[in-house]
């Protein structure tokens, strides 16, 4: 049944159906309404979850790590500065191979203080070892929260996962979402089976031991092997979800009118929707343009990106954060994909939308139209910035 809800509510709905054993959160600004909705569910007895209100985001993830190691299914949500404080423990969750799923309401990092959307928080968590999915709409936010849970808990993965939703344009915007029936969603997510739970006193293990130079490297290599399994599992789970829900999700990336395109945009998150408008408008004028939306951001789908862009001559990669002193993070990943596959189109990097600066279909169309004329030396450009 179709409903109208915000991205925040969409996450909370998925969480209600998943009904984790433990949710640990800290409601600091700019924490999201996700925790508020979920606290209501707990208070009203709709879910049987231990809600742990802690004193910081660092503690929130720490409580999640403890609960997950004990054997609980665990979720949390955060945003911006909260993520920045939490990220230390996110590395620990990944290193301990704990399947904690976290919604990340993407908002810019200080300074200056700003509560609006960009991807600087997601990029900060980029190398932590969690897999990351970016969503285009509230519907995707709902769907991929369920999908992420299955991926995180998969035997081959057992890693934390981040579901990214753009601040305000998804988090606070009411949109049409068609949730699954509770029973269907619960069946899809399945029963959680912990691995080496601390509370299994008959089979004790030591969690979080010391690993010196003789073992640390091997454990990190094993972690890399686990995250490298994510694309295969992602495609399987996505397929199962598509079959059950009727929603046509296929691939680690979404290719939009790319087949015969000579120019294309590469984006993350809700900007993909706006970009589709731009592509359609130019296509109606006979321009061969397309869009590549990256769903799975970590691990990065190098091959899928390269094959999607194999015949495109001019590519504009859009980053919604500056990686100071470097090209945009997404640009660097796309460039690596292309070099690995020896596909070498003209590649440009555009920074846009920092601190909630709006991005319109017209601006995106302008990028596509002007792409052939960009001087090769102008590799890093800015959209909607005053000189």
């Amino acid at each position: 049944m179709r409903k109208v809800m915000t991205g925040h509510k969409a996450v909370a709905e998925a969480m209600r159906q998943i009904e984790p054993d433990v949710v640990a959160v800290y409601p600091i600004t700019p924490q999201s309404e996700i925790a508020e909705y979920y606290a209501d569910y707990v208070h009203d007895g709709i879910v049987h979850t231990e809600l742990v209100p802690v004193e910081s985001e660092h503690s929130a993830m720490s409580a999640c790590v403890g609960a997950a190691a004990a054997g609980a299914r665990v979720m949390t949500a955060t945003s911006s500065q909260g993520l920045a404080l939490l990220v230390e423990v996110l590395y620990i969750a990944a290193g301990m191979r704990l399947p904690i799923v976290m919604a990340l309401a993407n908002r810019s990092l200080s300074a200056p203080i700003n509560i609006h959307c960009d991807h600087s928080d997601a990029y900060l968590a980029r190398d932590a070892g969690a897999f990351q999915v970016f969503c285009e709409s509230a519907q995707e936010v709902y769907d991929y929260t369920l999908i992420a849970q299955r991926i995180a808990e998969h035997d081959k993965i057992r890693l934390p996962g981040i579901v990214n939703l753009d601040g305000f344009s998804l988090t606070h915007t009411s949109q049409v979402v068609e949730p699954l029936d509770d029973a269907v969603a619960k069946k899809f997510v399945g029963v959680f089976r912990p691995v080496h739970p601390l509370l299994d006193v008959d089979k004790p293990v030591t969690w979080g031991p010391f690993a010196m130079p003789d073992y640390y490297f091997e454990l990190k290599r094993a972690q890399q092997a686990a995250i490298e399994e994510v694309p295969t599992v992602f495609l399987d789970v996505q397929k199962a979800f598509a079959k059950m829900s009727g929603r046509a999700y296929t691939g680690l990336v979404e290719k939009y009118r790319l087949d015969d395109a000579d120019r294309a945009l590469v984006v993350l998150g809700s900007t993909a929707g706006t970009a589709k408008i731009a592509v359609d408008a130019l296509r109606s004028k006979g321009e061969k343009v397309g869009l590549l939306k990256v769903w799975l951001y970590r691990p990065f789908p190098y091959q899928a990106v390269a094959s999607a862009l194999a015949r495109v001559k001019h590519v504009a990669v859009l980053d919604r954060a500056i990686s100071f002193g470097a090209m945009g993070a997404l640009y660097s990943d796309v460039a690596t994909s292309l070099v690995r596959s020896q596909v070498l189109p003209a590649l440009h990097n555009y920074i846009y939308g920092l601190g909630g600066r709006d991005i319109t279909a017209e601006q995106l169309a302008e990028v596509l139209v002007g792409l052939e004329k960009v001087h090769p030396d102008e590799v890093l450009r800015y959209i909607g910035l005053r000189e």
């Binding site: 290193g95 704990l98 080496h196 004790p204 030591t206 969690w207 979080g208 091997e218 454990l219």
Partner: protein, 99 residues
């Protein structure tokens, strides 16, 4: 030292199965002096057992039976606390030729 394992053979998340990492980590080599327990002088007050920071005083049926030299770090707390001087701290030098 046992042969080191490759990355494919390690337990998930670096857990140590068995739950007693301490049992695998023999800290006895840290010891410069070893406590030597003298059963004749011992009155079984268990003060050494209470105070040992490494649970290295071995007791059976509520009686001290010796020292766990695999883990005792030689701190000497047992010898210091013993009311009957039933524990001597002896230099750990192996095969020493000291006259």
């Amino acid at each position: 030292m046992a042969e080191l394992k490759g990355w494919k053979d390690l337990p998930i998340g670096g857990v140590v199965p068995g739950g007693v990492a301490a049992a695998l980590n023999k800290t006895g080599s840290w010891r410069a002096e070893r406590p030597v327990w003298n059963e004749e002088k011992c009155i079984q007050c268990l003060q050494c057992w209470f105070h040992c920071p490494d649970t290295s005083i071995v007791i059976r049926d509520q009686k001290v039976t010796g020292v766990d030299y695999d883990h005792c770090k030689g701190c000497g707390v047992c010898a210091a606390i013993c009311p009957k001087d039933a524990i001597d701290m002896v230099p750990e030098r192996e095969g020493t030729c000291a006259k």
